[in-house]
């Protein structure tokens, strides 16, 4: 009972700090949603209305028909007819086009008389993330066209693969990136908040006075978590709102389950911040540790942007130590696959273990005296 009163006093104090410092409060609530909106719209690999140019040496019925088909598809937008292939290079350099289609001379004639004709697809190899998709979209349109002209003959075998991308039919990039950014932002901001809050007390000397009192260190640490759990949850809600209504990421699973896991994930981030604060004596150090430890690894190793399967095994294991790896699986599972709690049991358990480890480790490391 007495401890509860002390705890209430501590939490009240933490809330006052947050409310008094309106700059940090704005940052805490505003920056995550701004980041998600920003990255969500920028970090996308989907293709829509890519500018293309056409060099039509044939200028016959067949080439025109195909060009028409390409330029009316949702993927491409024909912006220029060029006379020679030499001009393509210039257009790429000017950045006016992302791909060019070159039709061979006598395209239609060859097609009808020789049974094969050539179209050259030229894309920018330096744009490694988008060019392969551009080429394959182009191929799909051409193959479809040929298939429709050529009813399958009874003589040979034909296999027509029909492809279906589950959970993300249109390969919408935002469905992947938005949950990924969400996990990075929540982790970074959460860990920063608690680590800065404690190192600030170290810097100002207020921790020294606090240490001279009989407060239990479990309480000091726990009281740092509570107010930031609430503020972080509010900013997480705004991120989920943006995911659902701005980026139209479907919430296939249970929203309640997602929120519950988000709270768990925020706790992991805050406890990690506490742990970082026991290694740093200044706010600057805490910030550096948090940034280097979490920013890049989260982006690279957690499966947020790149598939982890292709990473070296060591890095895959390192990735497994990051809370964001597990939250990525959970959030994508709930949002896109409509996963139920049971199938995410392992991932949720991993987060619970991490909260415990981070919290108790930081309490143990938190010295009851000055160093």
């Amino acid at each position: 009972m007495k401890n509860f009163k002390i705890f209430k006093g501590l939490v009240r104090k933490e809330f006052l700090h947050i409310l008094r410092d309106w700059r940090s409060l704005t940052m805490l609530l505003g920056i995550p949603i701004v980041l998600v909106l920003l990255f969500g719209s920028v970090m996308t690999m989907e293709i829509k209305d890519a500018n293309i140019a056409v060099v039509d040496h044939a200028k016959d019925h067949d080439s025109k028909e195909l060009i028409n088909l390409i330029s009316t598809s949702e993927f491409f937008k024909l912006v220029k007819y060029l006379d020679t292939s030499d001009e393509i290079d210039e257009e790429f350099k000017k950045g006016t086009i992302r791909m060019a289609f070159v039709f061979d001379k006598d395209f239609g004639y060859k097609l009808h008389h020789e049974g094969h004709a050539q179209i050259q697809l030229i894309a920018d190899g330096s744009k490694i993330l988008t060019s392969p998709s551009l080429i394959s979209y182009g191929k799909i349109i051409i193959n479809k066209h040929i298939a429709s002209k050529n009813p399958p003959s009874r003589a040979g075998y034909y296999i027509i693969p029909t492809v279906r991308m589950m959970y993300n039919k249109n390969l919408n990039g935002r469905y992947m990136t938005v949950p990924g950014i969400m996990s990075t932002v929540i982790l970074l901001v959460g860990a920063l908040m608690t680590s800065l809050s404690i190192t600030k007390e170290k810097e100002l000397g207020t921790l020294e006075l606090l240490l001279s009192t009989p407060i239990n260190r479990f309480l000091i640490m726990f009281a740092k978590i509570v107010p930031y759990l609430i503020t972080s949850f509010i900013s997480a809600l705004s991120i989920i709102w943006a995911a659902k209504y701005v980026f139209e990421v479907p919430v296939s699973g249970s929203m309640g389950l997602l929120l519950l896991n988000t709270v768990l994930y925020i706790l992991t981030a805050l406890a990690l911040g506490l742990l970082i604060s026991t290694f740093a004596n200044s706010q600057l150090t805490a910030m550096m540790i948090t940034m280097t430890l979490l920013m890049l690894p989260t982006e690279v190793l957690s499966g947020m942007t790149f598939p982890t399967d292709s990473l070296p095994v060591v890095l895959q294991w390192l990735g497994k130590l990051l809370p964001s790896t597990w939250f990525n699986i959970i959030s994508k599972g709930i949002l896109l696959q409509g996963a139920k709690g049971g199938s995410l049991f392992f991932e949720t358990a991993m987060l619970v273990i991490m909260v415990m480890v981070f919290y108790f480790w930081s309490v143990i490391r938190f010295k009851p005296r000055l160093q």
Partner: protein, 309 residues
């Protein structure tokens, strides 16, 4: 039970000896002063006694409890006011007090009597943020916070540093008045004249306690006759006196130069004549009573480890 006792405390920061076998005993209800310049080891000693630092060796007890093993229990019994203002600047006066009261499971109302003499001076500003208070008011608030849980022992690390003279006097008056509540107080200061306001003092220098006594006792122990000398040119006096064959100690003291002789009895006229014969005209000389600072100067010159900066 002795409120504060320390035996052979040694504290090293790397190669620097901050405390060199310091022993100390403070009696119940005493206002005890640690007097010495910056770097003498006052802060380290207070932090060790306040359970905030671990000494390299030696033992210390507060109210009969060991500072290492029973630090949790000691922390319930002590009040601590660090040298640097360490309250929450973004919290108001009232919020700071309520916070420290809540930590000890008490309330401002419950212990209002103990701090009212001090607190009522800052009460008109209770809605003001602590960071916006003047230096003197900050110290009053810090003292109030240190007293809110009725501590048996109070540690104050240089409470008058950087505070205006009026507030300094106020603070000492408050400490004197706390004696009626039977609180044992250990206070450090670099201002020698404040030593007179303590019941007993320890003079500290380079990690050692040079002497422990009441201010009067300390002054009474000053065994040589002390002379204050001045002329138009004090720099010249110091130079000439130091060259004098009977000189024991020579050091500037405001406009004056304080001087002791190696011999037990001397004739001041002899010194006056010596100086005036050595191009130092208009010499004024008088025998004076030693101050704490004179005692300090005389003791530091005897301190073996003393190396002038």
């Amino acid at each position: 039970m002795t409120p504060i006792s320390a035996e052979n405390i040694v504290m090293n920061y790397g190669k620097v000896k901050a405390l060199d076998a310091v022993s100390l005993k403070v009696e119940k209800g005493e206002l005890f002063g640690l007097i010495g310049p910056d770097g003498a080891g006052k802060t380290s000693l207070i932090k060790i006694l306040g359970t905030l630092l671990l000494a390299n060796s030696g033992t210390a007890e507060i109210e009969g409890m060991d500072v290492v093993k029973q630090y949790q229990n000691i922390r319930r019994q002590i009040g601590y006011m660090p040298g640097k203002f360490s309250l929450y600047q973004d919290l108001t006066v009232e919020e700071n007090l309520n916070f420290y009261a809540s930590i000890f499971g008490t309330t401002l109302e419950e212990n209002y009597d103990l701090i009212k003499d001090i607190y009522k001076q800052i009460e008109p500003f209770k809605k003001r943020r602590a960071g916006k208070l003047s230096g003197g008011m900050k110290q009053k608030l810090a003292l109030s916070c240190a007293l809110i849980h009725k501590p048996k022992v109070l540690f104050l690390d240089e409470p008058t540093r950087g505070v205006d003279p009026v507030s300094r006097q106020d603070l000492w008056d408050m400490l004197q008045s706390l004696k009626k509540d039977n609180i044992t107080i250990l206070v450090s200061t670099a201002y020698m004249e404040e030593a007179l306001l303590c019941d007993r003092i320890s003079l500290m220098d380079h990690g050692k306690i040079l002497a422990t006594n009441s201010p009067d006792g300390l002054i009474a122990n000053f065994d040589k006759p002390l002379y204050a000398i001045r002329s138009g040119n004090s720099f010249n006096i110091i130079k000439k006196l130091k060259a004098y064959k009977h000189a024991n100690s020579v050091y500037p003291f405001g406009d004056w130069v304080h001087y002791t002789d190696k011999r037990d009895t001397i004739d001041p006229l002899e010194i006056k004549t010596y100086l005036e014969n050595n191009d130092t005209p208009n010499v004024e000389i008088k025998q004076i009573k030693a101050s704490v600072e004179d005692c300090y100067m005389s003791l530091t010159s005897k301190n073996q480890n003393y190396e002038p900066a």
